[in-house]
Symmetry: C2
Subunit: 299 residues, 2 copies
């Protein structure tokens, strides 16, 4: 293995801890009235996510020559938006999921109405955090990042993907449509996460370009390995029961192409992500590791 | 009557038209894929609202010596946020309302999942519009407005009020709690609407202060007259059946104080809104009219 695996995992953990600590401060305390909504927001936000998106943001900022501190509010906002999308996707009117990360979903604990509001509140807080970070000489960069994150989270991105996903229920869809749903639903926000870090670091245009392609390949590999995990993963490591896509008759990479071809596609996407980083040299090692890690993820 | 009523109503209509035209341009066209979500967003946004919040924003900008054009994106964003809140409030898991502004509610037409997403998308688009307006020399003002609107829409404002409203179901609550729910659920966004216009116009501190108090009194009068309408209004003019608060056993100004005292409280709030405007002189005439109009509203 070319990576110092322990060192890389420690780096990931360290960044995830920075994000967790910042989120802890940004979220209203769980005893502030009306307390139940803050509890519901925290329940889902601190449910043990791997913080992939915010870690990508911090790592991209560093690779682009910036300070992770400047990117921390954006990283936190992205995790809030990701969490809101999970809460709403899990609702009975959407995917109707009872478990997420090994725990009952937000609406199972707090009720449907409160879960809808907890999602709304996380989305709203994300933009408040971004706006409050937009001060001083970096203000213009943050404004660009707010617009970009909003676009990635809206109907041209994440929400659009969820709409197509809802519409695809009980429909036979082809590979192109399935790939489009994945790329909007998951890819757009991952792309925004990497680009936000780079933009806030004031990345040169060529570095931004490299990181954007990296993010797109990373997103694709993430989607495919997510589908594979749902097919073959172990419940204990995933925190939910595998096979949920199949039960819902969702089109996935394995269901459309078979497990072996899906694995090959994931390997290809990771390889492309790694190759595009080459011009950045050693400083991109951690981003390279994160992409390669997707091929061995178990949860 | 001290106002030239026709002139004032024409002014309102003209501003509402400006907002409608801008919203038409800001919303993705209804044939852009995935089309159904854009149709659902437009269905609720163009359902015939009176555009009170955005009209207040434009009027406040003018009173504070600014150009309504600078405030137009904020005005539109506020109407999007207001509309998202109506869509989510109407959901079965919340107020479970079938009609709004004389038409079936969003979830009755597009289904629950799509209505949740349409609300999410409107909230997200609101912040995209705000961020994209934050360019040039007014960028810093827009940033302040984004933070202020987000705070007013979140758990310390609108969402917080809706949480308390959900919790109050089938509970006996007192006047203080009822007033708190109203002021968070409705007052916070109205306050942000007026202040956004003033802030974007670069209002002097004393003018901002006057307009803030005006907004708070206006919001209060709006809430009370809304409750009264629900008690005694005519279905045809309201676009929904009156009495829905009573059927849901919601505490309202009339239910807690009786109709006459509620009317008196509304008159008092309007009077206070008018008095506080005095130092601004004639230029505040339209804001004065809007407050007085609340006492004769029928829908």
């Amino acid at each position: 293995m070319k990576f110092d695996r322990e060192k890389m995992l420690a780096k990931w953990q360290e960044k995830a801890r920075l994000v967790d600590r910042a989120l802890e401060e940004l979220l209203p305390p769980s005893d502030r009235e009306p307390a139940v909504i803050h509890q519901a927001m925290r329940y889902s936000l601190f449910a043990g996510g791997k913080r992939i998106r915010p870690v990508l943001t911090l790592a991209a900022a560093e690779v682009a020559g910036g300070n992770w501190r400047d990117a921390l509010p954006a990283a936190c906002a992205l995790e809030m938006i990701h969490t809101y999308s999970l809460i709403h996707d899990d609702l009975p009117a959407m995917d109707n999921d009872d478990f997420r990360r090994g725990k009952p979903t937000c609406h199972r604990v707090y009720g449907e109405g409160m879960a809808i509001l907890a999602g709304d509140a996380l989305l709203t807080l994300a933009f408040q955090v971004l706006a409050e970070a937009a001060t001083g000489k970096e203000a213009q960069r943050y404004i660009q990042v707010i617009a970009e994150i909003a676009a990635a989270a809206g109907t041209a991105g994440m929400v659009g993907g969820q709409v197509m996903d809802l519409q695809a229920e009980n429909q036979v869809i082809d590979g192109t449509t399935m790939a489009k749903i994945h790329s909007l639903k998951t890819g757009a926000l991952i792309r925004a996460a990497v680009r936000s870090g780079a933009l806030l670091a004031g990345a040169e245009e060529d570095v931004l370009q490299v990181l954007t392609v990296y993010a797109e390949k990373f997103g694709l590999a993430f989607q495919i390995t997510d589908d594979i995990l749902d097919e073959v993963g172990e419940a204990a490591k995933m925190g939910k029961n595998p096979g949920s896509d199949r039960r819902k008759q969702k089109a996935t990479y394995p269901s459309l192409y078979g497990l072996e071809v899906a694995r090959e596609k994931a390997r290809e996407a990771v390889e492309e992500a790694v190759v595009v980083l080459k011009p950045l040299g050693e400083r991109a090692e951690f981003l390279e590791f994160l992409a390669c890690y997707l091929l061995e993820r178990e949860g």
